[in-house]
C-alpha cells in the first residue's frame, strides 16, 4: 500500500501543480525520483511533526494542497493540536497520510503504535477519515478527496483485504445479507470476517471511509438489534457513531485493540491473533451474540 501511495503521489505532483508533499524524514527512498524532479514541491522537511503540520497549514493558506506523511503516532498524536487548530479550527484543507496503523511496527513497541488515531481525530469537527483495506480503496480515497477543501486523514496499513470495495462516492458496501446479526467491518479485517461467518445467517457491512460514514447504509440495514464492530484500532472507537443509527436497545460488541499498552513484540500476525482478529474469535463472538435473548 505504501508503494501505491508513493506512485499515486508521483502522478499527482505531475498532474496538479498545487500539490506539495512534506515528508517527516520517512518514505524518502520511495519518493527519491519525484524529489529529484520536483525539489520545490516534494520536501523532506525534517523530524519536526508539529512544525510540519503548521507549515502545511501555511502552504494551504497560499492555495497549495499539502500532503503530510509520517508514522501515525508522530503525525496524529504528537502534532494533534496543530491538526485541531491550524487545520480544523482555521478551516484549512490538507492531506495527512500515515503509516504504521495500530501496530504494524509490531516489534518496535508502543512508541510506534497508534490504535488511538481514529478516536482522537473524530474529536476534530470536519476531519475526513479513511481506513483503506485495499490499494484501490486508497487510490480512490486520495483521488476523490485530496482537493476537497477539508482536512483529510488516510491510514495506510500493512493488513489488506482480498476483496476491493472501492467506489466513486466512498460509500459503505453490504457485503453479505442476513438477519440474525450485523457485523460492521472498518477497513482491513474483511477477509477473516468473511471466512469466519460465511455460512451464518448474518449480514456484513464494510466501510473504508469512517468520517463522515455512510449513515444511510447503516440505517437501511442493521435491524437485527445485534451488532459486532470489527475495529482495527481501539475497541469501541465507532460505537457512539454507529449506535446513534441503530434501532433502540440494540446490543453492540466490538473486537478491536484493547485500551492498554501492548508490551509484546513479535510479528503483526501474532499481535492480530492476540487481539482477537481470528476466525475462531469472530465466529464465537457472533454465535454468542445471536444466542443472547
Amino acid at each position: 500500500m505504501r508503494k501505491t501511495f508513493s506512485s499515486l503521489l508521483e502522478d499527482l505532483v505531475v498532474k496538479d501543480n498545487r500539490v506539495v508533499i512534506l515528508l517527516g524524514d520517512i518514505g524518502v527512498f520511495s519518493f527519491r525520483n519525484t524529489m529529484n524532479n520536483f525539489p520545490e514541491r516534494v520536501v523532506n522537511i525534517g523530524i519536526l511533526e508539529q512544525s510540519m503540520v503548521g507549515i502545511a497549514a501555511g502552504l494551504s493558506k497560499q492555495g497549495l494542497i499539502p500532503f503530510v506523511h509520517t508514522i501515525a503516532p508522530f503525525l496524529v498524536e504528537r502534532a494533534f493540536e496543530q491538526l485541531k487548530i491550524d487545520f480544523g479550527y482555521q478551516g484549512l484543507s490538507g492531506n495527512f497520510v500515515s503509516v504504521g496503523a495500530s501496530s504494524d511496527y509490531s516489534a518496535l513497541g508502543c512508541t510506534h503504535h497508534c490504535p488511538g488515531d481514529i478516536s482522537i481525530l473524530l474529536t476534530i469537527p470536519g476531519f475526513e477519515l479513511f481506513v483503506p483495506g485495499t490499494t484501490n480503496e486508497l487510490s480512490q480515497a486520495i483521488e476523490s478527496s485530496y482537493a476537497n477543501n477539508l482536512p483529510t486523514y488516510y491510514r495506510i496499513s500493512e493488513v489488506r483485504n482480498t476483496r476491493d470495495l472501492s467506489n466513486s462516492e466512498n460509500k459503505g458496501t453490504l457485503v453479505k445479507e442476513g438477519t440474525k446479526c450485523s457485523v460492521l467491518v472498518f477497513g482491513p479485517i474483511l477477509d477473516k470476517t468473511l471466512d469466519a461467518l460465511t455460512d451464518l445467517d448474518i449480514e456484513i457491512l464494510y466501510f473504508y471511509k469512517l468520517n463522515p460514514i455512510d449513515k444511510d447504509l447503516i440505517r437501511r440495514n442493521c435491524q437485527s438489534g445485534k451488532v459486532l464492530l470489527i475495529e482495527p484500532f481501539y475497541s469501541g472507537t465507532m460505537t457512539s457513531i454507529v449506535s446513534s443509527l441503530l434501532p433502540k436497545r440494540s446490543k453492540i460488541v466490538s473486537i478491536g485493540y484493547p485500551r492498554k499498552f501492548l508490551r509484546n513484540y513479535g510479528t503483526l500476525q501474532e499481535q492480530l491473533e492476540f487481539i482477537g482478529f481470528t476466525e475462531d474469535k469472530i465466529r464465537k463472538t457472533v454465535v454468542d451474540l445471536i444466542a443472547v435473548e
Binding site: G54, I55, Q62, Q82, D86, Q90
Partner: protein, 262 residues
C-alpha cells in the same frame, strides 16, 4: 510631538476603555506591541493604499494581544468601528483571541502559543514555490519562544533560505520569571538568520523595517528583536506587568491610567 504620538495615545485609551467595558482582554501585552502593529499597518497603507492589494502577510502569533490588533485595524478602517463596542460579547466577531474565520486581515487563529511561526514559514515557503512576491511577517512574544515549534520552524526557514520571512520578537522580558532567554541575539544568529535589534516603541525605526523591500534583503530570513516594555505608557503596569497581565482596571485605576496616557 509627531502626529502619530497622539494617535498612539488614543489607541491606548481605546484599548483600556474597551477592555474595561468588556471586563476582558490583555492590556499590557497590547501596549507592548502597539507601536509594532501601528507601524506595520502604516507602512502597508503608505505602500499599497488599500491593504487588500498587499502581497504581504502579517501573523499575530501571540494571539492574547488581540485587543491591540483590533484597535489598530479599527484605526486604519480595516474593520467596522462598532465591532470593538461588542468586544467579547456572545455574538461579537472579536474575541479574546483572534479568529481568522471572523475577522478580516487576521491571518491565523492564534491563542495557543507557538503556532504562528510554523504557519508563517509555510506561507513563505508557499510563496517561494509559487514564485509569488510579498513578505510574511510573524510577531511572536518572547515568552512564546519557550515553545519548541518556533525553533523547529526557524531551522526550516533558514535551511530553505526563506528571505521572504521576517520574525518580529516582542522582547519585553516577560519570560524571565520562568525561563531566561539568555543571549537571544546569539541564539537566533546560531540558527543562521540575520538579526536586528531595534527599539520596539520607535515608529521611525520600525517603519524602516516594514517598508516593502524592492528586492529581498538577504539570502535568508531575518529576525527583528524589538525591545519593548510590557504595559508601555502606564507606570502602574510597567512596574507590575505580571499582576496586570490579564487584569481589568477598577474605576479608580482606570481614571489614573487615562490621566497618565493623556
Amino acid at each position: 510631538m509627531h502626529e502619530f504620538e497622539g494617535t498612539l495615545k488614543s489607541l491606548r485609551k481605546r484599548i483600556v476603555l474597551t477592555s474595561s467595558i468588556a471586563g476582558e482582554g490583555h492590556i499590557p501585552t497590547s501596549f507592548s506591541i502597539l507601536e509594532i502593529l501601528y507601524s506595520y499597518y502604516l507602512a502597508q497603507k503608505q505602500a499599497y493604499g488599500l491593504l487588500v492589494q498587499s502581497p504581504d502577510h502579517f501573523i499575530l502569533s501571540k494571539g492574547h494581544a488581540a485587543i491591540g490588533l483590533y484597535a489598530v485595524l479599527e484605526y486604519f478602517e480595516l474593520i467596522p468601528s462598532h465591532w470593538l463596542e461588542d468586544f467579547c460579547k456572545f455574538d461579537s466577531p472579536l474575541g479574546g483571541h483572534p479568529d481568522m474565520k471572523k475577522v478580516p486581515f487576521v491571518e491565523a487563529s492564534t491563542g495557543s502559543l507557538g503556532h504562528g511561526l510554523p504557519i508563517g514559514v509555510g506561507v513563505s515557503l508557499g510563496k517561494k514555490i509559487q514564485g509569488k512576491p510579498g513578505m510574511t511577517y510573524v510577531l511572536v512574544g518572547d515568552g512564546e519562544l519557550n515553545e519548541g515549534s518556533n525553533w523547529e520552524s526557524l531551522m526550516v526557514a533558514s535551511h530553505h533560505k526563506l528571505s521572504n520571512l521576517t520574525v518580529i520578537v516582542d522582547w519585553n522580558g516577560s519570560t524571565e520569571r520562568a525561563l531566561s532567554l539568555g543571549n537571544l541575539s546569539y541564539k537566533f544568529k546560531s540558527f543562521g538568520v540575520s538579526v536586528h535589534e531595534i527599539d520596539g516603541h520607535s515608529v521611525f525605526d520600525l517603519c524602516k523595517y516594514f517598508e516593502p523591500p524592492s528586492e529581498f534583503h538577504s539570502s535568508g530570513p531575518r529576525v527583528l528583536l524589538a525591545k519593548t516594555t510590557k504595559g508601555k505608557g502606564v507606570k502602574l503596569m510597567e512596574s507590575s506587568p505580571n499582576e496586570w497581565h490579564h487584569k481589568i482596571p477598577s474605576a479608580e485605576e482606570l481614571d489614573q491610567i487615562l490621566q497618565e496616557i493623556e
